[in-house]
Amino acid sequence: MKMIKRKLPWKLFALFALPLVVSCNPSTGKVKQTDESLQIYPDYTSVAIPPNIAPMNFMVRNNGRAFIAEISNSQNRRIIIRDRKGIIQIPIHKWRKLLEEDKGGILTISVFRKTRGNQWERFAAVKNEIAKEKIDPYIAFRKIPASNILWNIMGIYQRCLENFKQYPIMVNTLTEKNCMNCHSFNAGDPEQMVFHMRAVHAGTFVMNRDNIQFVDTKSDHTRSAGVYPSWHPNGELIAFSANMINQGFHARMGKIDFVVDKYSDIVLYDVKANSITRPAALASEKLENLPSWSIDGTKLYYISADKIADSLSYELILYNLMSIGFDERTRKFGDSDTLINAKHFGKSISFPRESPTHAIISFIGLNYGYFSIYNNEADVYFYNTETKEITRPPVNSEFTESYPSWSTNGSWLMFVSKRDDGILSEVWFSHIDKNGNAGKPFVMPQRHPDFYEHYLYNYNRPEFITGKVRMNPRKVYAYVKKGAVPSVFNEAESLDISSGATILTGKTEDVFYHHN
């Protein structure tokens, strides 16, 4: 008798509760499909995604009283998430299994919504491709707010693309809020890193595996310390630009800021010897800038423009894409070659970067100058080094695209874009197939789908890295506080100066940057 009394309440509960449970979830047979198209933010539809990417959480922007999202792969593994507001946050372990077992397969997102009449209806499913090629697990970037003259808190961070973890590499709260920028890695190697600090604790942090130095690359022979860097693949040399940068603010609405170099040249920094060489070929009257080594290290790509008189319009400053041969053994440069003439192309060239696997150099094309981040017309272009063809991949928007770079396997293109709000740069990825065709891009996933709606910082200069950088702010500061070791200027190897940023000035400029 007692046993019956104990069991009965549970049975009664099940009898009353079960219909409630069943009635809260849509059953497939009873759900009609709506004609309304599914609106999700961020737009993770019809994209190719890496199999090791973090969960691509999204929110449903269609109206509804409740939502269910079913995410499935070709193996029919499913993840079901329910949320009243349509905020879909996918459990990371389930997501990983879903992707890992179905590389090359299809990821389907089906969303159901509950209408005001308490009826469930289904949106047309969206499909994404799960690529076979992984993406590099980390990126490094500088986090800065949108500003032109002042700065406050900033830092260089690394973000794991396989989850949402983010770690600081260096933050300026430890260094009296100085400026830091231009972080760069040798082919994504987290053990070979360089970045600069400006103002207080000025210098360049160079990490070459176990050899870590904090150096001052400014000398009497250069107008500035090293600026935009590029590691040679051998890890022994870094090409820096040396620039005198000016900034102006547009008065008329539509444009924000214009950055122009008064002088710029390219110098070579020897990591082991802590010395700088000024190759004559890269220190002329022209404005040589943004060095970028070829994957095999036999060429240096860079941009070059004619200096114009101050009285002429800044819109006449057009940068060509150049290439110059380099002998690693003798460390001598050959003759330079114009790969793209900006006048013929109709655009100025900026940020060249060679793909590791395709015969492609990605670059930014913009109407003038090289500092593309303030130019809405700045777009990503591809230059095919074999066919000499220039194409504009379908990754661009009406807003600024900038700083394209390649994953180490060449299958993923990363760039920054301001397409979301027109002002702040976000990190976007596009899959590149074996023919060099770019797929529809997608924005870097975040834990909270509404992250970009209230985030007030830029992702500046994102760089792929193949692993986690072992440095953290406390470790970096331990080197920085000792002071920067001056670099030696290698006069013997620096020949035939004509003019430019690296003429012998007799005095060092304290400031390499001016704003008007």
């Binding site: 002042l150 770690y167 600081p168 430890l174 603010f249 008329r252 214009f258």
Partner: protein, 589 residues
């Protein structure tokens, strides 16, 4: 029993009187000025979990929003004081029967009340102390006997307090733990405090950008615009100080039998109340209050209030002068009353761009917003965002300028952030509706931006604002504000000839007669030039002005030195002549 009840009644009566005084004090302080100085859109909860104490930061921001409504603000502060009083009551409940219990609790409120007179003390820090005290009080309600259990319990509480209230809250918790241990006389319990003190260090692996200094000092590391007065440290250490005083006074009163305990207690309460009045009222810095009232009125575009409070101001710094000049323009008397103020900064009192900080950028942005110069208003708001990233005025400017520029996406981004404050939700909804219905040109500010958009692009020079506005005026010859500020700048730089060239423009802007400062400048020009009757574009100078100039010249002639000259013509200190001869930065020494 009767005596105990009477002492209680006296104690609570003293508390109620304290609250009445508090209301009076807060009205004198004008706590809305604290909101003006510190205003910020609160972070979302998920963003606030990043750093210890940020949850108290959100509470501080929400509390600041209350301060904009006089009644709600005063009630909010009163509630905080009541909470603190009862928290201390609970912590020191063992002393309930003591004669000095209520007087000392009331005395402990004095430094806490004084905190609200400091406009630049971050509200987040006040919240850290209050929430730390609240959590510490809850902690004190349960006291495990077993040392290991107590240590674990304290450690877990410490983690919660550190995350919610930062190291300030942790300090309060440690004090309360010490008090508990001392009162219980189980001194071994002090060992439970050691792990709590290590919590900030244990946090370091979770935040690689933190050093031990940040971990321990977090909320005390404030921006250069804020301040931490000494009274905060006194308030922070109130629990321990109370313990010492309780112990001492109890010892004294226990040795000598007190017959008239009610009288003693009542007298002590009166002394404390007198101390409350004499300690709190002087800590209101009238000068600072006046300055903040001027800035608050300036941001409301209330030129009359700015000028009213400027008259009470003894010392005028550059930013004040800038806002006074702006207010004079709003009151349509810039060129009449410009030299009623010393203008010792010259044209740098009109434009602030050579000395840029985020807070200065905010004021500059306001100026260009009024002018209708969208790109400059946007630019300076962007610079202000560097430190004041969630400042509502900055965000509003960005919303409106980006709408004018045609970047609705950007405007919506900032609108979304701004809508995080309940003070601005209605405004945000209105602007949202404007964007959706494509009726943004109905808004006066946006229309002004579009109309005043320079026809030809040029580079805005931050180092030469007069030139920048001259070029802007060239593109917008109907912009009265640009015209008047250019004229003011010329006058301040002694460039009277440039004013003369533009005299005919005064007619365009509806001047029947020349403004007073311009008349005075013309008289200097006539006196110095070789022309007998220069053309004044059909204007004549009033006879009164001419007579006064003659008198000024007569008084000044033959004076031996500058000091004597200033004394002789002191009745003309509100004139352009006085400025040129004495107070101008270009005046000969």
């Amino acid at each position: 029993m009767k005596k105990t009840s009477a002492i209680k009644i006296a104690g609570y009566a003293g508390f109620i009187l304290t609250l009445f005084f508090l209301i009076y004090f807060l009205r004198k302080v004008d706590i809305s000025l604290t909101y003006y100085w510190q205003q910020s859109i609160p972070l979302s909860f998920s963003e606030a979990l990043q750093y210890p104490g940020d949850i108290s930061g959100i509470m501080g921001d929400r509390f600041l929003e209350l301060l904009t409504r006089p009644f709600l603000g005063i009630m909010g502060v009163t509630l905080l004081v009541v909470i603190v009083f009862f928290m201390l009551y609970i912590i020191f409940r063992r002393f309930r029967g003591s004669l000095v219990f209520f007087p000392l609790l009331l005395a402990a409120l004095i430094p806490y009340i004084m905190l609200f007179a400091h406009y630049r003390l971050p509200a987040s820090l006040i919240m850290c102390i209050t929430t730390g005290l609240l959590l510490a009080t809850i902690h004190s309600l349960y006291s495990p006997v077993n040392l290991a259990v107590r240590t674990g319990y304290s450690f877990i509480t410490g983690i919660i307090v550190y995350l919610v209230a930062g190291s300030a809250g942790l300090l309060v918790l440690v004090q309360v733990m010490i008090i508990q241990t001392v009162l219980s006389k189980k001194y071994l319990g002090l060992a439970a405090i050691l792990p709590v003190l290590l919590i900030p260090l244990l946090y370091l692996p979770f935040n690689l950008s933190y050093t031990a200094r940040f971990a321990y000092l977090g909320p005390f590391l404030i921006s250069k615009y804020d301040e931490i007065p000494l009274i905060l440290y006194i308030s922070l250490s109130s629990p321990l100080m109370l313990l010492l005083v309780f112990t001492l006074l109890n010892y004294i009163f226990s040795r000598f039998a007190v017959k008239h305990s009610l009288m003693v207690s009542g007298t002590a309460i009166l002394i404390v109340l007198a101390g409350l009045v004499f300690a709190t009222l002087p800590c209101i810095i009238k000068e600072e209050r006046n300055v903040l009232k001027i800035f608050q009125a300036a941001f409301r575009n209330d030129g009359e209030t700015v000028v009213k409070f400027a008259k009470k101001q003894l010392f005028i710094d550059r930013m004040l002068q800038f806002e006074i000049n702006r207010a004079l323009y709003q009151n349509r008397c810039l060129l009449d009353s410009l030299f009623h103020y010393p203008q010792q900064f010259g044209e740098k009192g009109l434009f602030l761009e050579d000395n840029i900080t985020s807070r200065v950028s905010l004021h500059i942005s306001n100026f260009y917003y009024d002018l209708g110069f969208a790109n400059e208003a946007r630019h300076w708001s962007t610079e202000a965002q560097m430190v004041l990233s969630r400042h509502p005025v900055v965000l509003k400017h960005l919303v409106m300028t980006y709408i004018a520029i045609g970047n609705n996406e950007t405007a919506l981004k900032y609108l979304h952030v701004l809508s995080g404050s309940w003070l601005y939700r209605d405004w945000c909804d209105r602007v949202n509706e404007m964007i959706e219905s494509n009726t943004t040109l109905n808004d006066q500010a946006i229309r002004s931006f579009v109309i005043n958009n320079p026809r030809i692009d040029y580079f805005s020079e931050t180092k030469n604002p007069t030139k920048k506005i001259m070029i802007f005026y060239g593109s917008n010859p109907d912009n009265n504000m640009a015209f008047e500020f250019i004229m003011a700048s010329y006058l301040l730089q002694h460039q009277i000839g440039n004013v003369l060239i533009h005299l005919q423009d005064f007619r365009k802007f509806g001047y029947d007669k020349l403004p007073r400062a311009v008349e005075e400048a013309m008289l200097i020009y006539i006196a110095r030039s070789k022309e007998s009757k220069p053309s004044l574009a059909g204007y004549s100078i009033s006879q009164n002005t001419v007579e006064e100039f003659r008198d000024f010249s007569r008084l000044l002639s033959g004076t031996a030195n500058k000091t004597e000259g200033m004394r002789k013509v002191s009745k003309y200190k509100n004139t352009y002549w006085y400025y040129v001869w004495f107070t101008s930065p270009y005046a000969s020494k």
